[in-house]
Amino acid sequence: MSDISLETRKPMAIGRLPIGSIGRLPNGWWGMMMLVATESFLFLYLLFTYYYLAARAGSGFLPEAPPFFHLSGPNTLILIASSATLWYGERGARKGSRGQLLIGFLATLVLGAIFVGIQIVEWTEKPFTIASHAYGSTFFTVTGFHMAHVVGGLIMLLALTLWSAIGYFDEKRMAAISIGAIYWHFVDAVWIAVFFTFYITPYLR
């Protein structure tokens, strides 16, 4: 123990401190939280746009065919599953098991890629385009924004998997892994909101 302020009546005791991004809550964790906060509001405004345009337009807003679940339903489950595999991988990292880490992350990558693929099929199946009407514009823009986040997340996961594979991390130095995982879980959570807005609310009326 080193007593810092010799003159203070209440000396501050400072013990051994961890060095760098270790343990809970490194700077990067805070940075990710800031990103999540601002991105949450981004999606809030995106969904606001949808609800605002829908409310102002009244009954003619939705396209003739109600949204289908045959692709979006399974796709939602796939994305939720990818959060689970990621959690599994991150637990592996915590235990220092590089194998479990890689399995979890690779599975997440595959599930994420499948999600992207199915989503593209869903897009091509739509009888309208982004320029058809306001609904089309919001549908493709909001899902497009989400898709861009998924793709960004996949690139990030790819980098993390690569870095793990070449042995950059161990059970203590793995802040990058935990921080990256937060982002992926966030992107999944956003999908739930997007899914609810575009696929569930039309049936609630």
């Binding site: 123990m1 209440k10 400072i14 401190l17 601002t38 980098a159 042995g167």
Partner: protein
Amino acid sequence: MAAADYQKRPEAGFVTEALEKKLHDMWETKPGLFGVIATVDHKVIGIRYIVTAFAFLVIGGLQALIMRIQLAQPDQTILTPEQYNQLFSMHGITMIFLYALPILSGFSNYLFPLLLGTRDMAFPRLNAFSYWIYLASGLFMYASFLIGEAPNNGWFNYAPYALKSFNPGLNMDFYALGMVFFGISTTVGAANFVVTVMRNRAPGMSINRLPIIIWGTTTVSVGILLANPAVSLAFFFLWLDRQFGTHFFDTAGGGQPLLWQHLFWIFAHPWVYIIVLPAMGMVSDALPVFCRRPLVAYTLVILGTITTMLLGFGVWVHHMFATGIPFLSMSYFSGASFIITIPSAIATFAWIATIWTGRIVMTTAFLYFAGFISMFVIGGVSGVVTASVPADLQLHDTYFVVAHLHYVLIGINLFGVLGGLYFWFPKMTGRMLSERLGRWNFWLTFLGFNLAFLPMHWTGLLGMPRRIYTYPEATGWSWVNMLTTVGSFVLAFGILLLFVNVWISLRRGAIAGRNPWDAPSLEWATSSPPPAYNFPVMPVVASRHPLWEDRLDESDGHSSIDRGLVLDDGKEMLATSVIDAEPRAILKMPEDDPWPFLVTIALTVGFTALLLHWWWIGVAAGVATLLGCVFWLWPRDDLAQTKGAAHE
């Protein structure tokens, strides 16, 4: 060296020459071009922000002067309507986005680590990135002048006039893409401020000991994080509507012109508070120094700051009273806009009480702060008048509002900043600004400003609408407009004196020394200008006014400035806990790094490609940006991000 040891115990020690030498070699930016583009020193970045923002202030000011000449007399033809419209649009964009926030970011960037008793921001490379993006996006928007197609729809940029069918040139594309680009800078800058405050403070600097400017900037940074996506999104929608035929704002396909106004004002009203609260924070910190006492009602002022920001998110519709919104909604937003007066009133009364109960040292900075209070009140009450719906239906979009917003932006932002500049210039440069020239500078700015903008309230009451390039003589607006034009030239001359003062001081100014104002906060505990590492040993803080402690006797302990924690094993600083600022970790800080600059270049190419429809170059730039980010974030030993990277 024990490879597996991830911990160490920081030692306490005094400042020694050897230590200073060692730290200097570690922290000083490398000389040469590489150093210029790669530096991550928050002080260098802060000054860059300030210089760039002042450059934009001058450009925006010149635009204003040209417009004032056009408006000095009725029916003038000095400018074509299109030229005038581009000028008033770029004037607004420049002042509101490229000057008002960046100047505050500059001060905050420079001051944050110094005020907090630490060595750099939480994310130094992100800090550099935020500046480069700011510069690049500003140049991007200004490039529009090169082809004569600058934004011409005002800073508020209402749809559908902004859509391609009414505005086919590149004008709006420059603005739309430029604002999305600029939004990146503000967002990452804001995130950096918040994390720095939460995580990187001197041990003992608990949240009830933070300077007010820290509270101000942190509050607005949270505001930026939550508000900025709205405007980035609105501009992105606009760009989609223009380029890909989407129907967000275009009524033909079910879009709504008012969607633009909602998204824009959800952002832009909080933005008004975002560009004044840090300036108010500066005054709250610096004014008491010249009153020789602590600020009255520290806690109330902070609560007022936070409340203002919160309420600021709930009043955006008061910009839209004339759009035909429902009666109930008008009543609510009108009431909320009135209530926002109360937290602002707290600050005003706190400042007056501080002067009243203090002992004044009359300096130029003090004059600016005292002038600031009156300008703040004028800008505030004229805002209250417009909060009243029936009155606003008349006042809206007249010069009354122009006068109001200039009292807010010049009166609160610029006067606070100029006072702040007189106050902190000695810290930044090691030299004092001339007080004699300072008096001239203050009185000319003050009188010129009031001559220009006080009569402008009357112009508004005489019914002159905003954004008109000329007016007929029969409207009776000629006299007041001439007054405003004369005042604006006096104001400009006053600002010119500031630059003269800075120029002379940099050469022949009196040497400042550590603490020329005998001020209480930590930035005055290190030399002027501070060394690259800010503090040779990390200070430990025991009160709100570490340098006034022995005279105020306000804490039960003593801050330890000359003796502190020695962190010299590479670029290191402390991470502390959120509330009490207890040491939590030793952070490894990055060296100079070119990636922020390179990623900015890639993004600039990308946005230019989007503007000009070079789609493949755009894709390539996007890939380059992503790759750049991956390399930027590549785990490094020296940042202790990889295994085995421990130091003892």
